[in-house]
Amino acid sequence: MIPPRSVTIVGASLAGLRAAETLRREGYDGSITMIGDEPHLPYDRPPLSKQILSGEWPPERSGLTSAEALADAGIELLTSKRAIGFDLATRQLEFGDGGTLVVDGLILATGARCRRLRATDHLAGVHVLRGLDDVEGLRRELDTGPSRVVVVGAGFIGAEVAATVRTAGFEVTLVEAEATPLARVLGSEIGEVCAEIHRDHGVDLRTGVGVVSVEGSRRVESVGLSDGSRVAADILVVGIGVVPNTEWLEDSGLTIDNGVVCDQTSLAAPGVVAAGDVARWPNPRFNEVMRVEHWDNAVEQGAHAARRLLVDDSAAVAFAPVPWFWSDQYDRKIQMAGRGRPGDEMHLATGSFAERRFAVLYGRAGRLVGVVGFNRPRHVMRYKSMIEDGVSFENAVSADV
């Protein structure tokens, strides 16, 4: 295997950074250039909806590295530079500033961006939360004293924002189209636990309703819901999911389909790999083509993709993780590992829904495929190991954890 003469990483967030660091750890000594479209050094997103939004941490505390550490590792970082095109045949990247760059090894880690509500761009007070600039914008507005916050979408990001803002003393209305929060991910029983937690903290949770209109002249003033009700809003936070940033690759010659389509090893084309939120690949452990938007996946796949660039096809290994993530809401730590989904066999392994401290196992075709825990980190990790070991559902249910 002749290693690439140089490696270019498009995307300077978690997956891109971990890929760059892994290349060096593996002994790669060619040049590494990481290109990001934000002005910031790589930073960590989980604290944004929690410690940074609450003001507990200054924004710079979300940093993942320093200019010195990058320089010491020989990783060149280009900021505020947006890739707008790539041609696989000529291996040329094209940038928004008019520049071009012919690359050898290429790591695609452009992540995802928030979906937005239609026809709200002209209104002040409407926010999404994805990046450092988003959270600073939202914080600035909260600091000026408006009191009524409407959050659309009770998925993980919406729920965390609602929890943080409610804890800070604001009036919060949380709007969710499904019958319970996270119903499609956790099932309605656990979703109901999430609903109770929000309500107990004084959040006005509206489920089974969608947003049909957003009113206001210059600023958002109210939100119309599908049940005919109207909610006054000084600030509207939209947390209705993300879409992978792949438009710039549409004509690249790579296969794009809800992400950069890769093989089992994270390879999208010879010398081109993808990692993190933007990568879609068949995970042989679950026999499922997946795109995973979790923090841990960005870390793991970033490292895996980097190693993939350094080996021959014959030595390449499949990327077969058990996806895992966590969400902190109020005093609850929700963790989920594997691919459990509504419709699977479910078993309450420990605790109870009433005390909101429990672990639930998910089984499919006789295998343990997932676990969800509320304030049960030890159990989640033990069962995650069992998923990795291919333990049967029956044995997982009877295991002493």
Partner: protein
């Protein structure tokens, strides 16, 4: 390589910032002989200075800690 203290003869020391740690237990999954989250939801470091051959695993714990709460001295 491996099997003993590093060149300076100083073993590594694992430092956990308990103000940051939220017991996600990822470290326990990677290195159960070093990290343990108990039923009280707190993380206990069972071995602050593990054998040098475990360094890559400890580094993985540092990288995969969602709270960036683990560091290595030495």
């Amino acid at each position: 390589m491996g099997g003993g203290p590093d060149k300076k003869g100083v073993p590594m020391k694992i430092v956990v910032d308990y103000d940051l740690c939220e017991s996600n237990a990822i470290c326990m999954q990677i290195l159960p002989e070093v990290f343990e989250v108990r039923d009280d939801d707190f993380l206990y470091v069972l071995d602050e200075s593990p054998a040098e051959e475990l360094r890559p695993k400890v580094e993985e714990c540092v990288n995969r800690c969602p709270k960036q709460a683990i560091s290595i001295e030495g």
